[in-house]
Amino acid sequence: MQKYLKVEKRNMNNQYGMFAIRIGGIFVALVLGAIFLIFSGHAPIDVYVTMIDGAFGSAYGVNETIVKTIPLLIAALGVSIAFRMKLWNIGAEGQIYAGGIMASGVALSFGDLPSLLLIPMMMIAAFLGGALWACVPGIARSFWGTNETITTLMMNYVGILWVDYLVFGPWKDPKGYNFPITAEFSPSAFLPTFGGTRVHIGIVIAILCSFVIYILLNKTVWGYEIRVAGENSDVAKYAGMNVTKNIILTLMVSGGIAGIAGMTEVSGVIHRLQSNFSPGYGYSAIIIAWLARLNPIAAIFVSFLFGGLIVGGYAVQTSGLPASVALMLQGLILFCVLGAEFFTGYRVSIDKRFFSKGEAKING
């Protein structure tokens, strides 16, 4: 086999080509997903149509998709910042929970304050919560070289369990019939919604964040330092940058932004803190950040697609498929798109010389 294929290195700088390769990856993922669906006794085309229809086919679907887009996008922006510096913050999930806790704490304690004061306070608290969560791995990484992939991941469980402790214990709603939830926030802690929909102002915050972060990363001195350190920390040190400080700072900003995703969820959607309030947004955010090539603007569109994937997953439940079909597809898409990246670095072609030789033999 190897003999008939020619694999050569190449340097691809063609934007359209790169885009096409990624679309190709998504297509392959859908085909693989289809094979799985066929084996589990479903008609793949029907399932996909149902998903697309559920997510984008109606005003309700689109609204729900946007609601899911908000936490995905904000968390993806958060992790993108750390990824730019090659800091593998896979702890967005925990940072979302930490942000949710802090925002809820503020909402529950200062419910009497007006919205204009309370909501910014909740946001700042959520940022600090997420930042604190990421700061622990950041310090460990800076001073003792601890692998942040593992520490940020472990911090996820700590965050999730803290929420459980609070909603089962001290913060449990006394009128909540023993459900693991806090009391509902006062309405001034709710993020305003658009019309009668569930779409809340968080989408504006998220898109605003995308542009701010884009500018921060690409136009500022700090963004420059992050990019240099992300490419090569030896170069950064050589250029006189304080890499230790930047590792902690970057992880904190990264975690802080992911924390805001926790705030928009508790404040904009569920209006209280509850057990498992994020169904893995922090993990999907990692996939989104990668598919968007760590570009904050591209992340807006990828998040919207992934929001649709989740909503579409709910839609197929009616046909007897679990909603986790959406998760499976997420995984397949990441796998195939990352796999397809191989083709941006290498050209694979059929070795014509080999075949022409073979023909010569036949003719001779």
């Binding site: 340097n11 700090w222 030896d234 010389r353």
Partner: protein, 503 residues
């Protein structure tokens, strides 16, 4: 001797993208000869030999091995056809022994009889005069030994066509001599040997025939006894290499850089530089002569503040740097051209503008508040491109695809743009072609004449002799001797580098 043809390459062409890097190249190797492949960087030497070694496939032309047409699809294919290539960067497993490395991927038996294999390899190595200890671990070995393992690895697999890519780049003069003895012995036994190089001296010393490539095309094949160095240089670069405007030196007595009883540890925590003292005056080039790995890297990094000074102190313009961080040292007027261009000095995935502001990005000329003034610095970058004649197609493209020479111009350009007080240049011409080498040396001389204290680290003794005002020979992290170039010889310095004392 009967002239058996081991290799004939006919009309070889190779394209990378749309660019032909080899075009219509003819190459022939006979049994028993040492054939030098000479050319500037980017002349297509390595590409041609990589085709022969099965790493690349030619896009045009025909390859004959031992008189039969061969289609190589992999290096493994090549070795089965008797072609072994020893790359510049050795491909050995550090944590295995010599004999384990030699049989790696070759012996297919499930169990290994280590004793038998070691004996077999020992016998084999003695046959060719390659002294090794089969049971030594590779990480214990010197560069010369590692190279011998690579050669043995090829021979053990039955190679009679041996390609060596810049084999002497990492060797001491003595090791080079040993290598040449071995190669001669192998040629006498009927092997054909190709040496890729751009060192004229070695070509004249070892080669029987010489093929010169220029811009991907063959310039000619000549017998060594019929040419001289000048003729070869002309073939390589097409014009006379300019004689350098050398010695208008203005050494002052004012000290620019002072190394005072300095001790530095390496990454593994061992002492790499021990109690070293010397100084560099303003307007002086001091050359550090030593075999790579004798403390040069650690010394340079310590001066730049990237490595802790255990004992003693380093002073720039009479000011100690021990308690200072790299940024403060940069601001004191230090510029540093590190050995590892892409690993430390430049960011391959960024464009030239971003690379040029690496040291200045936080200064007024590059920033406005929290923002980088990309437009302004991009204009400055254009000036730098003109001034240093950097060949670049797209100013906004990542620099990783540029040639080594252009990269070094960007790096050196950035480092001297700010008129540094002290300039460290570590192996500044490694891997560069003659024309760029000359340009880089001219820039260093310019800096010296301007009054900069230049510390020049190199392994090329000829150039150290030519360029330096004083030479510090080091061995084992200690100063072995400080001499003036007109009062010493290359041999004497070579002895100091090896023995750590004046010979």
């Amino acid at each position: 001797m009967k002239e058996k043809r081991l290799v004939s390459m006919k009309g070889i062409g190779k394209k990378f993208g749309d660019k032909w890097v080899n075009e219509q190249v003819e190459f022939e190797l006979r049994a028993g000869e040492i054939h030098a492949l000479l050319g500037e960087n980017g002349a297509g030497k390595s590409t041609l030999m990589n085709i022969l070694a099965g790493v690349y496939k030619q896009d045009a032309g025909q390859l004959l091995l031992h008189g039969k047409e061969a289609i190589l699809t992999s290096p493994k294919d090549a070795i089965q056809n008797g072609v072994g290539m020893i790359h510049q960067h050795f491909k050995l497993v550090e944590n295995l022994t010599a004999s384990e490395n030699i049989i790696l991927g070759y012996k297919k038996t499930f169990f290994l009889n280590r004793k038998n294999i070691s004996e077999e390899i020992l016998k084999f190595s003695q046959k060719y005069g390659l002294s090794i200890n089969p049971n030594d671990y590779v990480y214990h070995m010197s560069v010369g030994e590692k190279q011998r393992i690579e050669i043995l690895k090829a021979l053990y697999r039955g190679a009679d066509i041996l390609i060596l890519d810049e084999p002497t780049a990492v060797l001491t003069p003595q090791e080079t001599k040993e290598l040449f003895d071995i190669l001669r012995k192998m040629a006498d036994r009927g092997c054909g040997i190709v040496i890729i190089t751009h060192k004229m001296k070695e070509v004249m010393e070892i080669a029987d025939r010489i093929t010169v490539l220029r811009k991907g095309r063959k310039e000619g094949t000549v017998l060594k006894r019929e040419v001289d160095e000048q003729r070869l240089t002309e073939m390589m670069i097409g014009k006379y290499a300019s004689e350098r405007k050398m010695k208008d030196r203005q050494v002052t007595n004012e000290v620019g850089l002072e190394i005072e009883n300095v001790t530095i540890k390496n990454d593994k925590g061992f002492v790499a530089v021990e109690n070293m003292s010397f100084d560099v005056k303003k307007g002086e080039i001091v050359g550090i002569a030593g075999i790579s790995g004798n403390g040069q890297k650690e010394l340079a990094e310590a001066i730049a503040g990237l490595r802790e000074i255990e004992k003693g102190n380093i002073k720039i313009d009479h000011e100690g740097i021990k308690e200072k961080n790299p940024r403060q040292i940069i601001d004191m007027g230090l510029s540093y051209v590190p050995e590892d261009r892409m690993g430390m000095g430049l960011v391959g995935n960024m464009d030239i503008t971003d690379n040029l502001i690496l040291k200045d990005y936080r200064k007024k000329k590059a920033r406005k508040g929290i923002f980088i003034q990309k437009k302004k610095v991009r204009e400055n970058a254009k000036d730098v491109i003109d001034q240093f004649e950097i060949k670049i197609e797209n100013i906004d493209a990542p620099i990783r695809t540029l040639s080594g020479g252009n990269l070094q111009k960007i790096l050196l350009g950035r480092e001297i743009l700010e008129d540094p007080k002290v300039l460290i240049a570590a192996y500044p011409v490694r891997g560069l072609d003659i024309a760029t080498t000359e340009a880089v040396y001219d820039l260093l001389l310019e800096q010296r004449n301007r009054g900069c204290a230049v510390l020049f680290i190199s392994e090329d003794l000829d150039y150290i002799m030519q360029l330096s005002d004083r030479i510090v020979a080091i061995e084992g992290g200690k100063v072995a001797g400080i001499v003036k170039p007109d009062e010493t010889t290359v041999e004497e310095i070579g002895m100091m580098m090896l023995d750590g004392q004046v010979g």
